[in-house]
Amino acid sequence: MMRIGVFVCHCGENIGKTVDCPKIAKEAVKLPNVVYSIDYKYMCSDPGQNMIKQAILEHKLNAVVVASCSPHMHEKTFRKACAAAGLNPYMCEIANIREHCSWVHDNVEEATKKALDLIRMTVERVKFNYPLSEIRVPVTRRALVIGGGIAGIQATLDIAGAGFKVILVEKEPSIGGHMSQLSETFPTLDCSQCILTPRMVEVYQHPNVKLYTYSEVENVEGFIGNFKVTIRKKARSIKESLCTGCGLCVQKCPIKKAPSEFDEGLANRPAIYVPFPQAVPNIPVIDRTVCTYFKTGKCQLCKKVCGRDAIDYDQKDELVTEDVGAIIVATGYKLYKIDKKARDSLVKGYGEYGYGKYKDVIDGLQFERLASASGPTSGEILRPSDKKQPKKVVFIQCVGSRDPSKGFEYCSKICCMYTAKHAMLYKHKVHDGEAYVFYMDIRAGGKGYEEFVRRAIEEDRVKYIRGRVSRIYEKRGKYIVKGEDTLSGVPVEIEADMVVLATAIVAQPEAPKLAQTLGIPYDKYGFYAEVHPKLRPVESSSGGIFLAGACQSPKDIPESVAMASAAASKALVLFGNEMLEREPIVAKVNENTCVGCFYCKKVCAYNAIELKEIRDKKGNLVKVIASVNTGLCQGCGTCNATCPSKSIELIGFNDEQIYYQIKAL
C-alpha cells in the first residue's frame, strides 16, 4: 500500500503568488494513497527539508512528491533529504509548479488548477516508482591508446606521466605517424623530426608505457572502466628481444627495390627494413610480400648475417589481451589518393589531373619527402621523373576538399597552411624558381598563420591564383595546367615542371571497421563522431572511449596535441576513482517475453544491448534474447519505445509510470 506525502513549496512569492499553495495542499490529500500533505514557504531550506524527513518518519511515507521548482534545480536536494530519513531517494518525484506553472502563468485560478493537475499526475507516477540504487562499476586504471602518431604519443605521455599504465598500439613498424614524414612545420618552420623524435624515445623508455608496434586492435569487449582488448601482434619475423637494431640485415638484404612507404614511393627500401633511421623501436620487419625467402624458400641472407639469431621466419601473428579502463582513439588520417577511382567510392576522382599517370604530379606528403633532409633527395627539390630541378611548380589546393560535385564536402583545414609552407620551402631551395598556388580561399585561422601566408606571398613571391584547375596534361615535357583566375576572370595556362596537389585529408580506410569494433559512431566519411560538438568534443558516445587527433576530423599538429591532452585528462578523470557510480536509469529486459528481434540493439547508440542465450535445465538453447549491459546503457529509453512487445523497459521512466501519469491528465 502506497503512503504518499505531498509537499507544496511556495518558493517565497515565486510560486505562492500565482498558485494557491495552501489550497492545493488541501486538495492533494484527497488524492488516493496520499496520506499527508503540507505547504511551506521554502521547501528546499533546512526547515523545509526537515519537514519532509519528519513526515516520512511520522506518517510512514513510502513515496514523496515535492511540488516545487524544476527537477533540474532541486531533485537531488529532495532525494537526499528523503534518503536521510531512510526513504529510497528514487521514491521521490518532483512536480514542477514553478518554471512550468507559476512563472509562466498569470491567472491564479488557472495556475492553481494546473499545479494540482501536475501534482496528481506525479502522484500517479510515483506509485509505480520502486527503490533503486546507484550502479557501481569498478574501474581498471589502465589506458589503451590506438595510434602512435603525434596525438597518440601525446596522450600516452600525459597518462603515463600521471602515474597510470598505458598501452600504445601502432599498426606500422614504428611510431611517429605522419609527423615523422614531414620536413618542416608551419608556421615556425622548425624541423618536424627534431621536435618529434625525443617524444618517441620518451614513449619507448617510459616505465608506464607498454608499446605494441606492428600491431592492431582486433577486438574490444566490455564497457567503460572495464574493457577487454585483444591485440594482434603481426609477425615481424624478428625476435624483438634479441634484436639490437644493428642494421646489418638491412644492409645485406639483396632486395632493394620495394617502394618505401615512409618516402611515399619516391624511394625504395629492402625487404627487411626499418621504416626510417629514427624509428622507434629500432627493430626491422620483413615484408613477406617481397622477401625472396618467403617467395622462393631461398636466400636467408639476413639470418646468416644476424649475430643474435634474431630472425624468425616462422613467427606467427600473436593475439594478446589487455584489460583497460579507457581507450583513446588516435588513428589519424590518410591522404586521398586521387588516381584510384573506385566505382563505389564516395567521390568521383580527379583523373583529369593525371596523378599516377605523370610522375611529376605529386601529392603533399610526397613533396614533404622531397623537401625533407632525410628524404630521397636529401632535401633537394628534384623532379621524380628525371631528377632535374623544376623551375616552375604549381601547387593546387582543395583537390578533393570543399568539392561537393566531385570530391568531399568538407574543408581539409591544413592544406592552405602546408601549401604555403611548400611553396615557401621550394622558393628557399630553388631561388630562381617560380611557384604558383591555385586556391579557392585562404583559410589561415591560427596563431601566426595568416602572417605565414602573407610571408609566402610577399617575401617569397609565391604567385597565388584564385581559381580552380580543370585539367593537367603533358605537352613536350611540360605539364600544362589549365585553370581560371577568377579574380581577373581569365583562363590561365601554366607550363609547369612539377605539380603538387594538396589532396584532401581522408579518414583511414579501416576507420569504420575499428569504429564497429569499438562501437563508436562515425560520419559518412569515416571520421569518428564526438558525442557533443561543443561541450564534449573529445568523447565518443561510448563511455570511456575518447578521441584525439585527425581521426575525428582534419587537424594540424597543435590541435591534435591539444585534443590528445584533453582526451588524456578525460581518461584521468575516469581513473580518479576506483569505482564508477551512476544513476540507475538503465533499460531492463523482460526475459520471459523477449523474442530477440533486436530492434532495441539497432536503435541503441551505445552498443548496450548484448545477446543472451536462454537455455532450459538440460542445457538446450531455448532462445537468444536481448540483455542490457548496464555499464554501457545511458538510459535514453529509445529501446523501450521501439520494442513492439514492451519487453525492454527503462527503469525510472517505465511504461507504468508514464501510463498512469498520462491517465491522470
Binding site: 528481434c597 539497432k602 512487445s645 511504461d655 507504468e656
Partner: protein
C-alpha cells in the same frame, strides 16, 4: 522444373530438412490447407495450385520449430516474410530450406471471398519469380481476372477529410471482435507476449469496445509499418471483414514514398525502424 512431390522427396532423401511445411488438399474442393510433412510417406499429400493462399512462413517462428531444419513451400510474397524474419533475427537462413514458388497469382480467398478472382496482392506483385530460394517450383495456374480495387480505395480515403476518415475507420474498427486472428496468422507477429496482452500497464484495453478496438488496430498497423510484406493474410482471416490491407498498404506506401523502402526484399538491408537518415524529412516538425 520438378513438381512439388518429387522436390519434397528429394528434400527428405538428401536430408535437407526435418520437415516440410506445404499445402495439402482441404476437405473441400477449391481449398487447400497447410500441412507439415515429416516422413517420405506423407509427401504425396502435397499439392500446389492457385488455391495455395496461406502464407506458411507464419509457422517458421513457432517455438517447436525453432532451431530445426525446416523446408517450406513459399511464394514470392511469402518469401518476403521469410526475408523479414531473417532480418529480424527470428530465423536463420541456413535453417530454412526455401522451395520458392514461381507463381502466376493466387485466388482472392476461400469462403466469403470471391475465389474466382485473382488476389489483389498478386496484381501488384513484384516477386512472381521469387527473390530468395534454395530451389524453385512452378505453380501452374490459369489467368485469373480481377482488379486492384483497394488501391483506389486508399486514394479515395486519402482524399477525404479527417473527419470522414475517422468516421470510416470508426465504423470499420467497431466491428472488431478482438479475436486477434489478424495477429495469429501474421508471419511477422511473432512476439511471445503481444503488447495487446500486456497487463501492466494495459496499453490496449481487452474489451472489444470502440476505443479498445481503435487502439489495437492503430498499434497493429504501426508495429507492422515498414515491416508488413503485404501478404494480406490478416484481412483474409478477419471474421469481421475489416479492410486491414488498406491501412497496411497505406503504410507501405508511406515507407516507399518517404524512405524509398520496401520490406522483405533483402535480408541484409537495414530495417526501416531501427535505422535513420539524418536527412529524413521533417517538414511537419515545428
Amino acid at each position: 522444373m520438378a513438381d512439388i512431390i518429387s522436390i519434397a522427396k528429394s528434400i527428405f532423401e538428401n536430408q535437407k530438412a526435418e520437415m516440410i511445411i506445404g499445402y495439402a488438399k482441404a476437405t473441400k474442393e477449391g481449398r487447400t490447407r497447410p500441412v507439415v510433412v515429416r516422413t517420405l510417406d506423407e509427401v504425396k499429400e502435397l499439392v500446389l495450385n492457385s488455391f495455395c493462399l496461406n502464407n506458411l512462413s507464419t509457422y517458421l517462428t513457432r517455438k517447436e520449430n525453432k532451431g530445426k531444419r525446416v523446408a517450406i513451400v513459399a511464394k514470392g510474397c511469402d518469401i518476403k516474410a521469410i526475408v523479414q524474419l531473417i532480418a529480424e533475427n527470428q530465423i536463420r537462413r541456413e535453417n530454412v530450406y526455401v522451395v520458392g514458388v514461381k507463381c502466376s497469382g493466387v485466388r482472392r480467398g476461400f469462403e466469403g471471398h470471391d475465389s474466382t478472382k485473382i488476389a489483389e496482392k498478386c496484381i501488384t506483385c513484384n516477386v512472381k519469380t521469387p527473390h530468395l530460394f534454395d530451389e524453385l517450383v512452378e505453380m501452374k495456374g490459369e489467368e485469373l481476372p480481377g482488379t486492384d480495387e483497394k488501391a483506389e480505395s486508399i486514394v479515395k480515403l486519402e482524399q477525404m477529410t479527417a473527419n470522414e476518415r475517422f468516421a470510416y475507420w470508426e465504423e470499420q474498427f467497431e466491428r472488431c471482435i478482438k479475436c486477434y486472428a489478424c495477429r495469429q496468422i501474421c508471419p511477422l507477429c511473432y512476439c511471445e507476449r503481444c503488447i495487446a496482452d500486456k497487463s501492466m500497464p494495459r496499453w490496449i484495453e481487452t474489451s472489444p469496445t470502440k476505443r479498445g478496438n481503435f487502439a489495437w488496430n492503430i498499434v497493429r498497423a504501426f508495429h507492422l509499418s515498414g515491416r508488413c510484406i503485404g501478404c494480406n493474410e490478416c484481412e483474409r482471416v478477419c471474421p469481421a471483414g475489416i479492410p486491414l490491407s488498406l491501412i497496411n498498404r497505406k503504410m507501405a506506401k508511406v515507407a516507399k514514398s518517404e524512405f524509398g523502402y520496401e520490406s522483405g526484399m533483402d535480408p541484409n538491408a537495414p530495417t526501416l525502424i531501427g535505422t535513420y537518415d539524418v536527412k529524413d524529412k521533417e517538414d511537419f516538425i515545428r
